[in-house]
C-alpha cells in the first residue's frame, strides 16, 4: 500500500511524471470510486456539477501545461547548468521584454478562464422558477428537511451506531454515510434549497449535486439542484460545527416524480396519524422502549450513552437536578432548549410522542427515579402550545 503511494507521489514530483497521474485522474471515474481509484471530483448528476467538473478539468490542464513548461526549463538548467559539469555562470539579470511577456501572457490566460467561470457561477446562482422548495435546517449534529407548503418535515441524522464508530461493532458499507431518513427529491425537477441553522454554522454538501452552501443561524441562503438521474447521493457537513462535525451525513434519494408523489402522500398521512397519537395515553414500558431509542440517537451524543455527560462541557443527566426535579422544568428545557448553550429546542425537532418518551426515559433510566416520572404526549403538546 505504502509503496504504491510512494510510487504515485514520487512520480508526481517530476513535472513530466505528473502527466500520467493527471491522465489517471482525467479517466472516466468508476461508479463509486474508493481506495486507490479515489482521485478526482465526481462529475455528478446535475447540470451545475457537470459544469463545475468541466471547469475544474480545464483549469487543471492549464496548470499542468504551464507546469510542464516552467519546470521543464528548471529541470533542464538543474541538469545542464551544474557547476559539477563545469558550466560557467552567465551574468544577465534583467530583460524587460521577457518580464513583460510573462506578466501579460498569464494575465491573458486568466481572462480566458474567467469567462466560463462567470457563466457557470451565474447559472449556479439562478434559483428562480423552482418546482419545489425545501428548507434545510442544520442543528448540532443533524439536519431537518421541511417541504415548504407540503406539511411534511422530518429530522435526518447519523444511523451508524456508536459501537461501530468506537470499534466494538464492525463497520458496514455505508459507515458514517447512512442516515435515519434521507432527503427525498423528484428527478428532473428544479428543487430550491433554503439553508439555515439553529445554532452554529453548518454547510450542506453533496458532491454529486455540486451543492455546498453554508447554513447560517438567523439567515436563509438559497441554492438549487435539478437531479437528472435517479439514485442515492451521499454528502456531509462541510463547516466545522463542534464535536460531532464528522457525524452528520447527508443522504439524498432522487426518485422519479410519481414515486416522489406517492412518498409525499405517505408522509403527509403519517403526519396526520402522528398527531392523532398525541392524544393517546401510553404505558410506562411503551414510553421507555421508545425513549431509549430516541435518547440513543438524539441525546447520547452529548449527554453520553448512560447519561454521564462530559464533565465541564455537557452536563450529566444521571442524578441531575432537572431529571430528578419537577417535570415542568424538565419539559421546558427539552422543548425550548437553553439559550446560549448547545442545548437545543427539541420541541421543533421531535414529535410530541418522541419527546414524551425520551423525557420519561431520562427520568427513569440509570437509577433516576423522580416523583412524577411519566410524561404523556399530551403534556408535551400543552407545553408547546402554552408558550
Amino acid at each position: 500500500m505504502v509503496s504504491k503511494a510512494k510510487r504515485l507521489v514520487t512520480g508526481g514530483i517530476g513535472a513530466l511524471a505528473l502527466l500520467p497521474l493527471i491522465h489517471a485522474i482525467a479517466a472516466e471515474p468508476a461508479a463509486q470510486p474508493e481506495g486507490w481509484n479515489l482521485l478526482n471530483m465526481p462529475k455528478g448528476v446535475t447540470s451545475v456539477s457537470q459544469n463545475v467538473y468541466d471547469i475544474h478539468m480545464v483549469v487543471i490542464w492549464i496548470c499542468v501545461w504551464i507546469g510542464v513548461a516552467v519546470f521543464g526549463v528548471m529541470f533542464y538548467s538543474m541538469f545542464a547548468h551544474r557547476k559539477s559539469r563545469g558550466h560557467q555562470p552567465a551574468n544577465f539579470h534583467e530583460s524587460t521584454k521577457v518580464e513583460l511577456a510573462w506578466t501579460i501572457i498569464p494575465a491573458l490566460i486568466l481572462i480566458v478562464m474567467a469567462f466560463p467561470a462567470t457563466k457557470s457561477l451565474k447559472h449556479l446562482y439562478d434559483t428562480s422558477e423552482a418546482d419545489l422548495d425545501i428548507k434545510i435546517t442544520g442543528s448540532q449534529w443533524k439536519w431537518r428537511y421541511d417541504y415548504l407548503g407540503k406539511d411534511v418535515g422530518f429530522m435526518s441524522q447519523l444511523a451508524t451506531s456508536q459501537a461501530s464508530i468506537y470499534g466494538t461493532a464492525p463497520k458496514t458499507e455505508f459507515y458514517l454515510e447512512e442516515v435515519t431518513e434521507p432527503l427525498v427529491i423528484p428527478v428532473g425537477k428544479k428543487v430550491r434549497l433554503l439553508m439555515t441553522a439553529t445554532d452554529v454554522i453548518h454547510s450542506w454538501w453533496v458532491p454529486d449535486l455540486a451543492v455546498k452552501r453554508d447554513a447560517i443561524p438567523g439567515f436563509v441562503n438559497e441554492t438549487w439542484a435539478r437531479v437528472d438521474k435517479p439514485g442515492i447521493y451521499r454528502g456531509r457537513c462541510a463547516e466545522l460545527c463542534g464535536k460531532d462535525h464528522a457525524f452528520m451525513p447527508i443522504v439524498v434519494n432522487a426518485v422519479p416524480e410519481a414515486e416522489f408523489n406517492t412518498w409525499l402522500a405517505k408522509k403527509q398521512s403519517e403526519a396526520v396519524a402522528l398527531r392523532a397519537l398525541t392524544e393517546k395515553t401510553f404505558t410506562r414500558d411503551e414510553l421507555m422502549t421508545k425513549g431509549e431509542a430516541v435518547f440513543a440517537h438524539t441525546c447520547a451524543g452529548c449527554h453520553g450513552a448512560t447519561g454521564e455527560g462530559i464533565p465541564g462541557v455537557f452536563p450529566a443527566l444521571k442524578g441531575s437536578k432537572i431529571a430528578l426535579g419537577p417535570v415542568a422544568g424538565h419539559l421546558n428545557i427539552v422543548v425550548n432548549g437553553k439559550s446560549g448553550t448547545a442545548m437545543q429546542a427539541f420541541g421543533a425537532q421531535l414529535s410530541e410522542v418522541d419527546l414524551a418518551a425520551v423525557i420519561t426515559y431520562e427520568r427513569n433510566a440509570w437509577g433516576n427515579k423522580s416523583e412524577d416520572n411519566i410524561v404523556q404526549p399530551v403534556d408535551v403538546f400543552k407545553v408547546k402550545k402554552g408558550q
Binding site: 428548507k135 439567515f219 436563509v220
Partner: protein, 300 residues
C-alpha cells in the same frame, strides 16, 4: 557622543521582560475576571504595567536629557509613533467596517431585502429593516434577549440641536485639536508659558469631552433604553464611541504627562518629541471622532 555614526544601543535591561510579564498577567487576569473569578491577577498586572512603563519612559527621558539619543534615534521614535497610530487606525477600521456591513447588508437582509429575501419570511417575519434598529429581530418574535432602545442618538432635528450632546463634543474636540496645535507652535518659538497654558486648556477640553460622553451614556442607559444589549445598534454605538472615549482618556493622560514635563521645563524648541507624539495621537483621536460624528450620529 551623539553623532550620526554612533547609533545608541541601550544596555541590557529588565524593563522589557517585566513589561511582558505584566501583559501576560493582564491576559490571564482578564480571562479570569470576565468569567467572574478573581480580579487580583488583572489588578496586579495593571499595577506592574504602570510601574514598568513609568520606569521605561523615565529612562528614555533621562537618556535623552543626558544627550545619548542622536537625531537618528529620534527619527526611529518618530517612525514608531507614526506606525503605532496607523495600527490604531486599523483597529477602528475593524469596528467601522462592522458598522457599514450591518447597515448596508445584514440588517436589510434580515428585513427581507436583496438576495436573502427568504430570511425574513422564514425566520423573522414582522421584522422590518431600518437604521437605527429600534426593534430587534428577537423582539419581533417575542424574545427578550435583545431589546431595542426607545430613543436613539441620531440627529434630533434643528429644533433640539443645541441639546444634542455629540455636537458639543465635536466642538470640544475640534477646539482641543486647535489648542494643542497652538501649544506646539508656541514651543517651537520658545514661548513656554503660552505652551503650558494652551496645553492645559487642551487637557481640560479633553476632560470636558469625557464628562459629556459620560452624561450621554448615563442618559442612554437610564432614559433611552439604549444599552450594550439593545441589539446591533447599541452594540455598534457603544463599541465605537466607547473605544474612542477610551482613546480620549489615554490621549488626555498622555498630554497631561507632557504638561507636567512642560512645567518642569523638559522641552526645547527643537526637542519636544514626547509632546509631539502625544499631540499626533490627539489629532488622530480627533479625526476618529469626526468619523464617528458622521457615521454614528449624523447618519445614525
Amino acid at each position: 557622543m551623539a553623532s550620526e555614526s554612533s547609533y545608541y544601543v541601550p544596555e541590557n535591561s529588565w524593563i522589557p521582560v517585566l513589561t511582558a510579564t505584566s501583559l501576560g498577567s493582564m491576559a490571564l487576569g482578564a480571562g479570569l475576571f470576565v468569567q467572574g473569578k478573581t480580579p487580583l491577577i488583572l489588578l496586579a498586572g495593571v499595577t506592574l504595567l504602570a510601574c514598568v512603563l513609568f520606569t521605561w519612559f523615565s529612562t528614555v527621558i533621562g537618556e535623552n536629557m543626558r544627550g545619548m539619543t542622536n537625531a537618528q534615534v529620534k527619527r526611529s521614535f518618530t517612525m514608531a509613533m507614526g506606525w503605532f497610530i496607523f495600527s490604531e487606525v486599523m483597529f477602528f477600521a475593524a469596528f467601522f467596517g462592522a458598522l457599514f456591513y450591518v447597515r448596508v447588508l445584514a440588517v436589510p437582509w434580515l428585513g427581507g431585502e436583496g438576495e436573502k429575501a427568504m430570511t425574513n419570511s422564514l425566520l423573522w417575519q414582522g421584522f422590518s429593516a431600518q437604521w437605527p434598529v429600534m426593534q430587534t429581530p428577537d423582539q419581533v418574535l417575542g424574545g427578550t434577549k435583545f431589546v431595542g432602545p426607545h430613543e436613539n442618538m441620531g440627529f434630533p432635528g434643528w429644533g433640539k440641536v443645541l441639546e444634542w450632546l455629540p455636537l458639543w463634543n465635536t466642538i470640544l474636540l475640534l477646539t482641543s485639536s486647535w489648542t494643542v496645535h497652538i501649544a506646539h507652535h508656541a514651543m517651537k518659538h520658545g514661548n513656554r508659558t503660552r505652551f503650558n497654558v494652551f496645553l492645559a486648556i487642551t487637557v481640560a477640553l479633553g476632560l470636558a469631552f469625557v464628562a459629556v460622553q459620560y452624561r450621554e451614556y448615563h442618559e442612554a442607559y437610564t432614559t433611552m433604553g439604549l444599552t450594550l444589549k439593545s441589539g446591533i445598534y447599541g452594540t455598534t454605538f457603544f463599541m465605537l464611541t466607547g473605544f474612542h472615549g477610551f482613546h480620549v482618556c489615554l490621549g488626555a493622560f498622555m498630554l497631561s504627562i507632557q504638561l507636567l514635563r512642560g512645567l518642569k521645563g523638559h522641552f526645547k524648541p527643537d526637542d519636544q518629541f514626547g509632546f509631539e507624539a502625544s499631540s499626533w495621537y490627539w489629532h488622530f483621536v480627533d479625526v476618529v471622532w469626526l468619523g464617528l460624528f458622521i457615521f454614528v450620529y449624523v447618519l445614525g
